[in-house]
Symmetry: C2
Subunit: 399 residues, 2 copies
Amino acid sequence: MARAARMKIDAVDFFYLSMPKVTTDADGSQDALLVRVQAGRHIGWGECEASPLTCIASYVCPMSHGACRPVGESVLGQPLNEPRDIARIRASVWFNCMDLLQAPHTFSGIEITLWDALGKMLDEPVYRLLGYKSAAPKLAYASQLFGDTPQETETKARSARQAGFRAVKFGWVKYGHCTAAEDEAHVEAARAGMGQDANVMIDAGQIFAQDVAAAAERIPALERYNALWLEEPFLPDALAAYGALAGLSPKVKIAGGEGCHSSPMALNLIDFGKVGFVQIDTGRIGGIGPAKEVADLAVATGVTFVNHTFTSHLALSASLQPYAGLTDHRIAEYPFAPRKVALDLTSNHIMPDNDGLIRLPEAPGLGMSVNTAALEPYLQDVEIVVAGRRLFRSGSLPV
Amino acid sequence: MARAARMKIDAVDFFYLSMPKVTTDADGSQDALLVRVQAGRHIGWGECEASPLTCIASYVCPMSHGACRPVGESVLGQPLNEPRDIARIRASVWFNCMDLLQAPHTFSGIEITLWDALGKMLDEPVYRLLGYKSAAPKLAYASQLFGDTPQETETKARSARQAGFRAVKFGWVKYGHCTAAEDEAHVEAARAGMGQDANVMIDAGQIFAQDVAAAAERIPALERYNALWLEEPFLPDALAAYGALAGLSPKVKIAGGEGCHSSPMALNLIDFGKVGFVQIDTGRIGGIGPAKEVADLAVATGVTFVNHTFTSHLALSASLQPYAGLTDHRIAEYPFAPRKVALDLTSNHIMPDNDGLIRLPEAPGLGMSVNTAALEPYLQDVEIVVAGRRLFRSGSLPV
């Protein structure tokens, strides 16, 4: 493992990519905030799973006071030579950006670039820098939106099965807006399309807010069709509601965590929300380091860690690293039908094999090649000027 | 109570105000994001306690997907005729901005303008629209930063006492960075300066992160000098740490909550963090409506509600309304030495009387007059352009 010369963070660049048309679908793959870090001759890539313009603003915003500084101030110029450099930068962002709510979303993408760059610098996959000896294969679940009708949901499930998936998750659209019986028809359709031997999960997308009774009404149907989990029934902070629902079914566990923007938030969901699956998006929780902390907590508390990923394969690699070595935490979210910008973001992809298993690339860093040549058509120019000073102007993609 | 013609929200404007020089002091009064709403001929004012540029970006950002839309989309054009209109807009922001982390900070200032405008429309102070018959006087505590030395802290306490305050809170600077003995010298100095009959509170500014032992080491000194509370020892989400510390002293209670950006977060601090005082900033939690929910929860659970305010008297009025009628929740944070921009923001001020008591203005809405004529020198021009479209350009202050 060759140690390079002492490196520091020389540049952080943001590239706001978007489909030409963004719809109100609950489909997070319609745009992306791609982040690039440069440390000496080393380059790292990452992605924020967040509002691109708002993240950029929080990176460059003028300081409001000591605990509300721009994210960039805690990153640029910092040493980057070993994993604890990343932890130190993260601690500094936490303290300096305490009152800047967007900061964890913004820093997530940056933190991922740091691991990618460090992995390339040290010639190691990120999961090894995290202390795992090897990356276990994960059972990919095809993550998608419900159909508009149960027939459409069944067709979607059938295609996922035909594409080799042994697990599927349906979510959003009208679930929770209709009667429990109408919702049940979709769950039945998902099971019918996937077959009896597959995993079926349901994502409620926070629709019940804090209403335990409304969520509880859906549990019997989930038990009948043997759903593995009910995901995000409530607001991410509604811990008491989570805890109350969790005790109701011996068969169907509650999943949640994609809204966590810190590792203590995820710990609360485990401790007080009693979730059975904790789902972490490295593009939101503050990056790979805090996600690894949650994976450690999951192991310690007997809860199953799952990635949350609905976007690119760069994000997918970043979200799989924190639990790569945990063989008992086997299921993984896989974006089944992302928009073109998300697929075009990388030139290599993490593809399920015939058994529906996915494997992390055995390559330095995140092991993904960002396909800059393909991204030009998606690039959105951004310019931010405050008090006559141009704080941000987007650059062109490197060739 | 005259009901005006059916109104809708015609315009929302942001004015980014700042001192010419912003320092790294933990003093949130150095800039302000002033918000104005227009509904027919009615005008309302409010303030976000947040990063101005980041809030503006989140108001105008292009949609990323159905659950990550710009805050503005859920506000403009909506009816505004009665309190439940505000609750409906809030629910819509929650759902449409689920994945836009900054949204609660941004919406806080907007929500406050809606109550101010509605109060003026219905010719009622906001606290009456919230269901309180009258506004009880509150005991103002002079909120300020520790001195650099214990002597300086004592001098600061003495001036607060001489200015008529019967309660004081010191925070930040080196507290928690030094040894427990050095910290104790400051607490002793604060007590010496204020006298035995005054309330003294200490604000740790999250310095112990999740380290219960480090916080616990400070408790005996707080007991010795009869501190009323220890504030924000930990990260806002470190509920287990809060809960562990809360049981340690029968005399010194734990306070927290300024970091809450939703009412469920505050409920968690009460339920699981076992705080004795829940401190809510209407400029962060989503506005006056969610703060009132927390006040109701505080009453129901036997916890004391306190405002969090470190900025202007517009923010002070907004933060006092949610618990105005609760006579048993008597203590109130009062910005003792804010920067000039915060004082200049309004032409009237909420001043403590000879007993250190403050009273809300008995006037429609928030009862505060924004001093637009004085604010021109502080105004920061902002321009945001994405993909050739100018999404935001700041206007001039109305005369």
